[in-house]
Structures are given as C-alpha cells and as structure tokens.
Amino acid sequence: MPVDLSNLLVHTLNGVQYGFILFLIASGLTVILGILDVLNLAHGELFAFGAYVAFSVFGYVTGAIAPPSGAGGLALFLAVSLGAAVLAALAVVPLGAAIEAVFLRRLYGRDEVYQLVFTFGLLLIIKDLNKLIWGPTPVRVQSVYSGINRIPAAELVGLNFPTYKLVIIAVGAVVVAALFWFFDRTKTGRLIRATAIDREMATAIGVSTDRTFTLVFALGAFLAGFAGAIALPQSTANLAMGANPLVLSFVVIVIGGLGSLRGAFVAALLVGVLSRWAVWQYPPAELAAPFAIMILVLLVKPDGLFGTWGETA
C-alpha cells in the first residue's frame, strides 16, 4: 500500500505528541511507584483535578491578561497559558502532600492491598470533589484555546498540523529534560534516588525519608496535575476523564519496566507513535492498540524494557 509521506509525518507527529502526554501522566505514577512502592490509583483523578483547575485558571487568566490578537498578543497568550498550566499543577501539590503525610504514611508497613483500597477510595472521593466544585456537566475551554492554534507554526514547512500539539511536544521535551536533570544532577534528586535504592541506608546517612516521601508524592501529584492542565485544551474536562489516563499509564509503566523513568519515557513514545499508526491504518483498533502493544512487548521482554528505579534515572 503506498503511504503518503506527509501523511506519515503528520501521524508520527501526532503519535509523538500523544506519547509526550502519556509520559507526562505516567511519569508521576512511575516516580511514586519507584520510590514509595505505592501504586497510586488516584493518579488519574489528580490528572482530572489539574485539568479542572486549569480550566478555571485558563479561563480567568487568558481572558483577563492577554486576549489572543496580533503576533505579540498571541505569543504573550501562549506564555500566559503555559504559566496558567503551572499554576494549576501547583494547586494539586498541597493536596498531594497532605494525602501522603496524613494518610498514606500510615500504610507503608502494611499489606499492599490496603494501599490499593485506600488510593481507590481516594479516587472516588476526588472524583466527587471535582463534581462538587465544577458540577456534573463537562466543561470546555476550546474557545479560549483555539487562539494558540491560530499561530501557523507548522505551515512554515508546508504541513497542516495544529500548533498546540507542537507546544505539547516542546513542553513535554522540557519536562523530560528537567526530570532527568533533577534526578541526575541535583542533590535532592540524588537523595531521592538513594532513598529508592535503600531506605535504611538513606535514613542512616541522615536523609529524612518522611520528607522525601512527601516531596515525591507532591512531585507526582504536580506531574499529574500538569499533564491534566496541558492535555485539557484538546478536549473537555469531565468526570470520567481520570480513568483512561490511569490505565494507559499502567500500560506505559509496565512496558517501560516498573518504576523506571527512562523506561516510561521510551514506552510512552513507543505506545504513542505505534498506536497512532495503528489507528490510522485500522481505526477500530483505537482502544485496543495500547494493550496489544503492551502484550506484544511483554511476550518478547517479560520484565519490560528497563529495570527498576534508582540505579539509573
């Protein structure tokens, strides 16, 4: 079958963009899993919470400060909306810190099923919290956000591709770089990795595991919220939006190797690109593609692509 090259490029770009969204979601989950050894089922709801907050913040900030008109106005609009995404993610941080310090901390020594039950209960509670604050009907920021897509960035090279997706790729790349830099080069990041490798030894050399764990959970919550805020403009924020990202990030972290950040990154791009190609060639595969990819990868490499967390970032 002849494949149109620019079509292939567009679908690949779509896949890369999807992959970066997946990575943004899965990174928080994998960091929490790698260090705290807790599978946070409420991660998807934190993602949704971030999206909802972003809806409020975007709606307020972008409308009030920089209406999208003219080249300079558009650039400012872009900057302001990215700032708004960060703000939205920051709003999730105290929630995450409180969850870890008040509840989750008491469960580390216990059977893992209790952590699952707790985070599942949390999932249900945060879901209804979103319902309480923003109401049961979906909210949409499309009108505000179509502004960014009016910047014809991709048309310079003769492609028809929404600018906002390019923004996501760029932002995703920055986040990936920042995370690797954080865990590789900063002292805090290294201490976190040390805690992940050997909790007792880390405590012995004076690392406060309590604070490390709170920090890590808050970081995971931040990443979830940021992913929600960044992914929001492409669709609506609704109450059911947390489930899919949660399951997809399971797929990503299983392919990558449980708790491996590098694995999550590679797996996210793999799943993103392959599933977009699959959907392009055979549209009904949309829901099943990520899982099929996962099972294929696991048949070849049962432990995922990369090992566990800590030794390498």
Partner: protein
C-alpha cells in the same frame, strides 16, 4: 431445586441419614454438615441463620422498599466472583486486578449463546458461561502468572482492559450497547424446558443463585482445607521455600487462578440471566475488577464468606447511595478509607470472635467513657498529621530554615 442447596449446608434429616450429625471431639460438640466440615454449635446456628436469611430475601424484599431483590442478587453474584478471587488473594497473596474479565466473559458467553445461537436452556447458558470463563482464566493466567506482585496485578488489569477494548470495538459483541440474554417474557430462558412469568423468573433465577452460591462456598471450603489449599498457603508465604519442599508452584497457582475463573464465569453467566442484558461498562470495565477486589477486602479477605458479604454491602452502598446523595461515589470512597484505617479485617473479619474490633467493643461496653478518650486521641492524631504536612510543605518550599 433450591431445597437441595439449602439442605447441603443447613442439614436436613431426609438425606443420607448421617446429616445432620452431632459429633463429639475432645469433649466439645460439633455439628457435622458434610464429611470433614464440622462446626461448633454457635457457628452452625449462624450459618443456618445466614442461609435462612439468604433464602428469605425475596419475601423480605416485599416488606421494605429499601431492600430490592435485584440489588441483593447483583451483590451476591459479584460477591461470588469475589469468593473466587479471594482464593488467590488470601492464599497465594496475589492481587488480581482483572477478575472482571472472567465475570464479563461469563456474561458475554451467555449473551452470545442466547443471541447468536438461540440457546434457550438456562443450564446450557450457565455451562457455556462457566466454560468460557474458565478458558479465559487459563489463557490470562498462563500469560500473567510469569510474574508476581505488582507486575501480575497490572498484567491482569491490562488483559481485562484489552478484552473490554475488543468487545466495545466489535459489532459482534454489540459494541457499547451490549447484548441481551433472552429478554421479554415470551423469550425468557427456560429451566428444564419450563417457562416462567417475569415475576417467577427472577425468583427462580435467584434460587438457582442461592444453590450455586451455597455449593460454591462448600466447594471452596473443601478446596482451602485440602492439601492443595495448604500448598497454596505455603506458596503465599514463601514461593522459594514452597518450591524447595516440592510444590509445583506455577502449576498450583495456575490451577488456583483457573478455579477462581470458574467462579467468575459462573457468576457472570448468572448475572446475564438476571439482568437479561450485558454491557461492557458494567461487566468488563477495569473499575469492575476494582469493585470485585475491594468487595473481598471490605467483607474480610481472611474469611470464607467475607467476599460475599462485601459484595452485597458494596452493591447496596452504590445503589442506595445513588438514592440518598448525588455524591455516592465519595460515600463508597469514605467507607473504603474508613475500612483501611478502622477495620482492616473487613466486616466479617471484624465481627469474628477475638478480633481487635470485638475486643474494643467489649472494653467500651465495660467502660463507656473510653469513647471520649478515643475520639480525643483520633482528633489529636489528625491535628498532628496536618501540622506535619504543613511543616513538610514549608520545608519543601522555603528550605530547612
């Protein structure tokens, strides 16, 4: 039909003469239910009471609008799947996150047989459901049991979601609308070729469920008290050691997995008969798997009947919660969080004699002023934890000073 089932557990003098027998061992008297199952009189009475209540549900349901046969029935069926899952959870310590797959396979097998092959017999539909649930468990188990721990959980979840994705994408399975299992009075499934009106139908299916559940519990009891069950316990405690003492670990765990699939498939098939329509959302979605897992823990996964009780309570909570508040999800969530921190042994586990809860209750009855002390303690702990969280946040944002 239903008489047989209740007789097996409660004991009726008509069968075999040996039932019920009173046996005396070490000076204590036990009620013998079947070979090898002897209960102390109190527990036998409790069990009998449970079975009577269970049988009486259709009559009780006419007394109060709060209690609906359909809701209890659904709860029992999910509970039955949870009983199957509990074999893995309690004994091999494997947390399966994909048991909705077997439940859903059972439900869909019944629906497909009814819709595409025009099978009318209830028992044939159930047999098909059980068969396909078992086969699915064999395949999923074979592929996911290479792993333990979280990897296993996530793999079972992924297989479940794959199944969900396939079903929802294919017209053969009715896509997101699902398939019906002989709806309408003229068309209903038959038991031994006999037709029933729609009122009678739901009651008949309910009693069929009672029979299946009682037999299912007895079989499960036999299994976990057999050498095979002990081997599973050993595997749960330490796989390596279990292998060293000669237990074929993989084969045994796979057998347990498949057996739990039998329960899931059968329960799913019954669900199809009850609801007369199966949808992917309500049978195959991963939140259903979560429900089934949390039913087992809610009821008490260290007990035999706990998962069943958990199933009834959780479904009841979701259904009645829907009428009481629009935040019924949060209601369930709060119950689960309270369970984790207050009643880790679950409902049945907490009520067992010698449990911390019973002990506390006893102390409270002796000295009611303890309640105030406990409340104060809980408040102080919450305040301290909130303070710690604030402190940590301050350190995160502004450094150690």
């Amino acid at each position: 039909m239903s008489d047989d089932g209740t007789a097996a557990d409660a004991g009726s003098a008509s069968r075999e003469g040996r039932l019920p027998g009173i046996v005396t061992r070490d000076g204590d008297r036990y009620v013998r239910v079947t070979r090898g199952l002897e209960l102390p009189p109190r527990r036998a009475a409790l069990g009998l009471l449970g079975v009577i209540l269970f049988v009486a549900v259709p009559d009780l349901a006419t007394l109060s609008p709060l209690l609906q046969l359909q809701v209890v029935h659904q709860g029992v069926l999910f509970g039955l799947a949870a009983v199957g899952l509990n074999l893995l959870l309690r004994h091999t310590r494997l947390v399966s996150f994909g048991h909705a797959a077997f439940f859903g396979t059972g439900a869909y097998a019944a629906a497909i047989l009814a819709t595409h092959f025009d099978v009318t017999s209830m028992l044939l539909l159930l047999a098909g459901a059980t068969l396909f649930g078992t086969l699915m468990a064999g395949v999923v188990g074979y592929l996911s049991l290479r792993h333990t721990g979280l990897y296993f959980s996530l793999l079972t979840l992924a297989f479940g979601q794959l199944l969900y994705a396939v079903v929802i994408g294919q017209g053969y399975f009715g896509s997101s609308d699902g398939l019906s299992v002989r709806p309408g009075e003229a068309n209903q499934a038959l038991l031994f070729g006999v037709e029933f009106g729609s009122e009678a139908y739901s009651v008949i299916v309910y009693y069929l469920t009672v029979l299946v559940v009682v037999v299912g519990l007895l079989v499960m009891w036999r299994v976990i008290n057999s050498p095979f069950g002990n081997a599973l316990d050993a595997i749960g405690q330490n796989r390596t050691r279990a292998r060293f003492i000669g237990i074929p670990v993989r084969r045994y765990v796979l057998a347990a997995f498949v057996l739990s699939g039998v329960y899931g498939g059968l329960a799913g098939g019954m669900y199809g008969l009850v609801q007369q329509h199966v949808r992917p959302e309500s049978t195959l979605y991963f939140l259903r798997s979560g429900d089934i897992l949390f039913m087992a823990i809610l009821g008490g996964f260290q007990t035999l009947v706990g998962p069943l009780v958990g199933g009834i309570v959780l479904v009841f909570l979701q259904d009645v919660g829907r009428d009481v508040t629009s935040y019924f999800d949060a209601l369930t969530g709060v119950v689960l969080v309270a369970l984790v921190f207050g009643f880790p042994r679950g409902i049945v586990g907490s009520l067992k004699r010698g449990s911390p809860f019973r002990e506390r209750l006893g102390r409270l009855a002796a000295d009611p002023s303890l309640a105030a002390t406990w409340l104060r303690g809980a408040r102080d702990a919450a305040v301290a934890a909130a303070y710690r969280a604030g402190e940590n946040l301050r350190i995160l944002l502004f450094g150690v000073n």
